[in-house]
């Protein structure tokens, strides 16, 4: 086999100053101000290496993959499969065919909802799930049970224990909440479920930008994530699944690439991972996903975790000093997500004024409407941080926030 084209760089980056240079969009002006991008929870920005990877692919090797005998097709196939191996290695999956490439977290969860459960099965989710970890189960007509969320935004583990039983077919819970920032005790959840022989799917969409995940160490059965939240391109992501489970599951979609042989009488399906990858995939995005992984391999994760923690701690401390602000989500273990409401100020107005000052935050229900109902609110304002954000930006955000509140109150 050729060497994988997504190598790990020799030295690890641990300076926000250096990292910022890798993200060209951070030099953008918005409404005449330097952009402060705090909407990373929705999607993070892309390093030059990822951007170059897409253009390089189309300039030098584009062809359809997996079927061609000609050189370009082989090059493209090699790069695409190298990306899969890069993802496998990064998440420490035991086999590359355990990485099913999907459009993202949403498609990954839909795949499991289609192929792993059947109508009437009991599925245990939580009250802090994103709509993409609620609606697929409703479409599959399973019997949904919902674990409660505590006032501080932590999962109610007593409620989890009382609702989990040997009748549960699957626990499907978010690793990190996109709205609250809560890092759920997934190790404990998995251990408790496995004691009863229950399988566990984790929605890793919000965890992967902040936490270096090791699927074998976690021992989760399925792990769903999107590239675009971890500095990669949009429209691509993956489902990790344990091989024996994936092998036992029927295909999700039918089409090219996922078959061994087709006759009108009987069709036999391809092996993993292709069984679940019907049709021509997002090839350039897949390869650029590999480039994003390669970029992340060059980051000092101990530094990154500490850096994001400092940003969150500083923003939390400063925002608490502002009168009328209430933080939604005060779990002990939190990722770089700060959701808040302000007495007498609507989140839409706040988002609009901050945008005028060049600051991008997210406002609204964050695709977690049941969680909003749980807290009796219609939405929050949310700042979410990435490795390239700085303490100075937090200060600009806090000052802008004060200015906006003054205008709105």
């Amino acid at each position: 086999m050729n060497e994988n084209c997504f190598d790990t760089p020799a030295t690890l980056k641990n300076s926000v100053h250096d990292i910022r240079k890798d993200f060209p969009i951070l030099n953008t002006q918005v409404n005449g101000k330097n952009l402060v991008y705090f909407d990373n929870g929705a999607s993070s920005q892309k390093p030059q290496a990822v951007i170059d990877s897409i253009s390089n692919y189309y300039s030098t090797m584009h062809a359809n993959i997996h079927r061609g005998v000609h050189t370009l097709s082989q090059r493209a196939t090699q790069a695409y499969e190298d990306a899969r191996v890069a993802v496998q290695t990064y998440f420490n999956a035991a086999h590359s065919e355990e990485i099913i490439i999907t459009r993202g977290t949403t498609e990954a969860i839909n795949l499991v909802a289609h192929s792993f459960v059947k109508k009437g099965d009991e599925v245990l989710i939580s009250g802090m799930e994103h709509h993409s970890n609620i609606v697929p189960w409703q479409l599959a007509e399973v019997n949904l049970k919902v674990v409660k969320v505590k006032d501080n935004g932590e999962l109610d583990m007593d409620d989890f224990k009382s609702k989990l039983s040997a009748n549960t077919k699957l626990v499907a819970i978010t690793h990190v909440s996109n709205t609250l920032g809560t890092i759920n005790p997934v190790e404990e959840i998995i251990a408790l479920a496995h004691q009863l022989g229950v399988k566990v799917l984790l929605d890793g969409a919000q965890a992967v930008p902040h936490i270096k995940v090791d699927v074998q160490k976690l021992d989760c059965d399925f792990y769903a994530f999107s590239a675009h939240k971890m500095y990669g391109p949009t429209g691509i992501g993956a489902l990790y699944g344990k091989k024996d489970l994936l092998n036992a599951m029927p295909p999700y979609q039918g089409g090219g690439d996922m078959i061994k042989q087709v006759t009108f009488e009987k069709t036999t399906y391809n092996d993993l991972p292709h069984k679940f990858e019907a049709g021509t995939p997002a090839i350039s995005e897949g390869i650029a996903f590999g480039a994003a992984i390669s970029y992340l391999n060059g980051i000092d994760w101990t530094w990154a975790a500490q850096h994001e923690h400092e940003l969150l701690a500083y923003a939390t401390e400063e925002i608490k000093k502002i009168e009328g602000v209430k933080i939604i989500g005060e779990a002990v273990h939190k990722a770089g997500v700060l959701s808040f409401v302000i007495e007498g100020v609507h989140h839409y107005d706040l988002g609009t004024l901050l945008d005028q000052m060049g600051i991008a935050i997210r406002t609204g229900h964050h695709c977690t409407e049941p969680l909003m109902q749980r807290f009796g609110i219609t939405g929050t304002a949310r700042a979410s941080f990435a490795i390239y954000n700085t303490k100075e930006e937090v200060q600009i955000f806090i000052d802008a926030l004060k200015r906006a509140i003054k205008m709105l109150k």
Binding site: H346, D349, T352
Partner: protein, 139 residues
Amino acid sequence: MTIAENEKEIIEDFALFSDWEDKYEYIISLGRELPLISDQYKTEDHLVRGCQSRVWLHADKKGDNIVFTADSDAIITKGIIAMLIKVLSDQPAAEVAKNDLKFIDTIGLKEHLSPNRSNGLVSMIEKMKLYAHAFSSGI
């Protein structure tokens, strides 16, 4: 005043603002002045759902004219509603149905009327026009 005259007046007001802060302060003040929709109409029936902010709209007939009252939970949305009402309310229903609301674009607030802004304004304008159509065609 006609719809066109109302539009002209708003455009002239906005021409005075040199920065975003003045502009938004003015919109916010308009929002505060907006006569509220009476409580009896602030119901599910009158709710125009946006995923960011909510809007309530009520339309009444006054001869050939159409009169709007509205409210929103977000003050900037409310300020923009106040302008829409100032321009369109108590005007001939047939004229309201025809108006293309170009003034919003002229004063640099077009982004607030983009469908993906999901503040309820786009749906509100659709509803205003529907009412105006219905009233002018005597339905």
